[in-house]
Amino acid sequence: MSDLVRRTAADLADALAAGETTSVELTEAHLDRIAAVDGDVHAFLHVDREGALEQARASDERRAAGRPAGPLDGVPVAVKDVLATKGLPTTCGSKILEGWVPPYDATLVTRLREAGLPILGKTNMDEFAMGSSTEHSAYGPTHNPWDLDRIPGGSGGGSAAAVAAFEAPLAIGTDTGGSIRQPGAVTGTVGVKPTYGGVSRYGLVALANSLDQAGPVTRTVLDAALLHEVIGGHDPLDSTSVDQPVPPVVEAARQGAAGDMKGVRIGVVKELTGEGYQHGVQARFDESVQLLVDAGAEVVEVSCPSFVHALAAYYLILPSEASSNLAKFDAMRYGLRVYPEGVEDPSAEEVMRATRDAGFGDEVKRRIILGTYALSSGYYDAYYGQAQKVRTLIGRDFASAFESADVLVSPTAPTTAFKLGEKLDDPVAMYLNDIATIPANLAGVPGLSVPSGLADEDALPTGFQVLAPALADDRLYRVGAALEAALLDRWGGPLLDKAPALAEKETVR
């Protein structure tokens, strides 16, 4: 393994700026790492060696000409397979989109390209981002680099595992109910869900439009901030995108790393601790809060009583929107087409039915059925309508909590990574893994997960979640970076140094 792949994106950017390395060299190093370990990890669904190297060469030329496109020009990135990439397959982890190559780039992808980040490939995910383990990918699960028999979280397990396994310094995830943050927690990496509308959704294949948000997946808080600045900001193609400048996240991350938390009020959410949280997860959380107090923060306990209804509301709103979003996959214009067996001259409807039956996995079908039911006439008010009311109440809980606290904190996920297959037959147990992350999506507020250590009982990573008011994403970075700095001091190095080394296969080029 090249030492380059263990370095942070910020370090690599400095090295590029200082002329110590080239984009081609470090892009190749990551491609080699992918070739060496991804057979075991399976973080990638598609690797674009040629495309990435071409972009790296262009980056090196820009830099040689003294015109780098931005601070991260030349630092490679991996992109979750739910974002449209022109000329690169985009499957959303589903058979129904097998072979589809978008004719256009998502706005976020355009911004990555314009900022000069070579795209290494597309990362694995639960089918259409439905899941918390990446086991619902139609192309096989991703394995957690800390223990290959365990899940890497989901739906963005591919992006988190790619970063944790040093296959990419940076990755893009999307978070509808925790799909960036929960994988971050269980793989010992950093994940940020920006304020709803903070990053364009144009080209993000929607799971639940009113909840989805793309964001950075990295190994450090500063790297996340650097990537956030690249992808954030208003997009006229997304009506729900916020027409305001990106909050000063990089500055906040640097300020936080200096360690001064004086005057910052940290609100511990009563409803997101205690019962249901694994002992080691809770212990690392409590220690982290203490570290912030030691750095000068003030701690208050806040109550968000409506959060107990968040999961129920989420599982009505999400399937409702998803059932409608997924209707477009009908074999008429793109993607899989299956003709029904034994039917001569099938009608369009029969082809649609056969294709959707063959192309969607069980979890997707489960949610389409749920959503179709929830939106049906006569049930709409009782289900979708009520869920929207809960959503309003959760927003109010946040608003009142943010009156007494600048940020709210909780464990990111209630447990460490569970075993592959352990919860596959119990959808509700799987859903419960997102209990702490879902409220932020329902209210549209930003959230960050930063590694908080390893649980005593299983030596697996735990995550610390920070939530801030809408548009105050910079607060996440300030608090996240402060905690990260304190923990690095305590550990004497990055948490990922404690991860077992992955077996590297001979690289064949």
Binding site: L83, A84, T90, C92, L97, W100, P102, P103, Y104, A106, R201, Y202, G203, L204, V205, A206, A208, N209, S210, P236, L237, D238, S239, T240, S320, E321, S323, S324, A327, K328, F329, D330, M332, R333, Y334, A348, E349, M352, T372, L375, S376, S377, Y380, Y384
Partner: protein, 498 residues
């Protein structure tokens, strides 16, 4: 297809039943770009050339509302005396169909941009008030072409879909039930659609070409026993796409439903297909298992919240109301009440207006549109506007007449050519050789021959009976095969004989 159903005569049906009408009109706006993306909207472009990720429903693509379309919707609402919603949303109407790229239509459901309006139409001097329930914004679907003998999806060999139309902005204007029209129901329906067309033309928001589908009409009709004051079960006849057909479809449904009801059968609540050629409707989808479109607010769009100042500015800038507009035109043109009513009733107001604007006199414009051209439209079973003759053509023909280059008879032949698609009036004159003979020598010789051939008539004229000149003119015109200026012929004859 099933055997033709029994029909009751229109007169008998109206004796026994009161009809209630409801009209749903879809108007394609003439915005330069589509409702939710920047694609062009030009009619007749090669299939699937005006498409993008958004209107093709590609994964990940998102809609953005066309501000001009919202403005047009508000102006239509204001012109129909509607309230304008200070805040409204788009909704998804979910159903599967191959020409719907997303398998949901982005439309408005319970929050239309305009609602609770009214307008008035006049039939035979009687004014009918039409209450408008709503006018809402939505996107058009793609266009399916079913290839095969049937022309419909059933029995087609294969189907083609053109998505150029997908995403074109539509305004759907829905009336409340229109009652109390009695035997004028077919005419009221037709007059309402003609009225809407004039109104939309005046606003400049749509091309309102019914034959191109930029104005499409669904006709709801129900019957209730005379004097009962109730509403019966309605049918919805889809895509009745000419003024003439609107009238015919209403008339047909009255006869059909009446026959069923007196036979003790019930009217099935269903959508029906209109058959332009045979003038009948046939059953389509039954609506009894009420389709569930699972409407919910479109989460990819933010609410539309037109600010009050904007709405008031649009209101102030509206063209004058149709009634005032008509009154002013009538005065300007010097039409009698009857002439004006006939012009409006024929759906010719705008055509006459444009013809006058193109240079014709009001009398000439009315004469052509309401006599010769109206007859042709009637013979062909099309609306005047769809005849293929433009106001400019009519003005040009009249100008040719005024200049003595063609006479009335030749002018009709010019229209034959224009209707047949042979080009502009000037092109038809050239290609058919229709110009009157202005060669004085040839004309003079023809006059001499006519005098020689009709010595008794010539004698009468010489004796001062000038009225007899018509017979000689007729002889000259016959010889010239009509291609002479009758006025000049008369002058020549009189010069020679008096």
């Amino acid at each position: 297809m099933t055997a033709a159903p029994a029909l009751m005569s229109f007169e008998e049906a109206l004796e026994r039943f009161d009809p209630a009408l409801g009209l749903e009109v879809h108007v394609e706006l003439n915005t330069a770009s589509k409702m939710f993306c920047g694609c062009a909207t030009e009619f007749g472009a090669p299939p699937n050339t005006q498409v993008c990720p958004t209107c093709l429903g590609l994964p990940g693509a998102m809609p953005v509302v066309n501000g001009t379309a919202v403005e047009s919707a508000i102006r239509i609402g204001l012109a129909l005396n509607c309230s304008i919603a200070p805040w409204c949303r788009f909704a998804r109407k979910n159903y599967f169909y191959p020409d719907m790229p997303k398998n949901f239509q982005t439309s408005q459901y319970d929050e239309p941009i305009a609602f609770d309006g009214w307008t008035e139409v006049e039939v035979d001097g009687e004014v009918f008030r039409i209450d408008i329930e709503r006018a809402h914004m939505e996107e058009d679907t793609g266009k399916s072409l079913h290839v095969g003998t049937s022309g419909r999806i059933h029995g087609a060999d294969y189907s083609l879909v053109d998505y150029n139309r997908a995403g074109i902005p539509l305004i759907e204007i829905v009336t409340r039930p229109i009652r109390g029209t009695g035997d004028k129901a077919p005419l009221v329906a037709k007059a309402y659609v003609a009225h809407l067309r004039e109104l939309l033309l005046g606003l400049g928001v749509s091309d309102v070409r019914m034959e191109q589908g930029s104005l499409r009409c669904d006709v709801n009709l129900s019957l209730a026993p005379s004097g009962a004051g109730t509403l019966g079960t309605r049918t919805e006849t889809k895509n009745v796409n000419s003024l003439r057909s609107v009238e015919r479809a209403v008339r047909y449904e009255i006869g059909r439903q009446a026959a069923r009801l007196v036979d003790g059968e019930r009217v099935v609540q269903e959508t029906r297909h209109w058959h332009e050629d045979t003038g009948i409707t046939t059953a389509g989808r039954e609506k009894s298992d009420a389709e569930d479109y699972r409407y919910f607010p479109e989460p990819d769009l933010v609410p539309v919240a037109p600010d009050e100042a904007w709405v008031e500015r649009l209101r102030a800038e509206l063209p004058e109301p149709l009634r005032e507009h008509r009154a002013r035109l009538q005065k300007e043109w010097g039409f009698s009440d009857l002439e004006m009513r006939d012009t409006v009733g024929a759906g010719a107001l705008h055509l006459v207006e444009e013809t006058i604007a193109a240079g014709a006199s009001p009398a000439a414009a009315r004469k052509w549109w309401l006599s010769d051209l109206a007859r042709r439209a009637n013979e062909r079973g099309v609306d005047l506007a769809d005849l293929g003759v433009s106001p400019t053509d009519v003005a040009r023909v009249q100008q040719l007449v005024d200049e003595g280059k063609v006479n009335d008879k030749l002018a009709r032949q010019v229209f034959d050519g224009v209707v047949a698609g042979e080009g502009t009036p000037d092109e038809v004159v050239a290609s058919r050789g229709l110009a009157v003979v202005s060669d004085e020598g040839a004309l003079s010789e023809a006059v001499d021959r006519a005098i020689e051939g009709n010595p008794d008539v010539a004698a009468k004229i010489r004796d001062g009976k000038v009225a007899a000149v018509g017979a000689l003119i007729g002889a000259v015109m016959k010889e010239m095969r009509g291609q002479a200026d009758a006025g000049r012929v008369r002058e020549l004859i009189l010069e020679k004989l008096t």
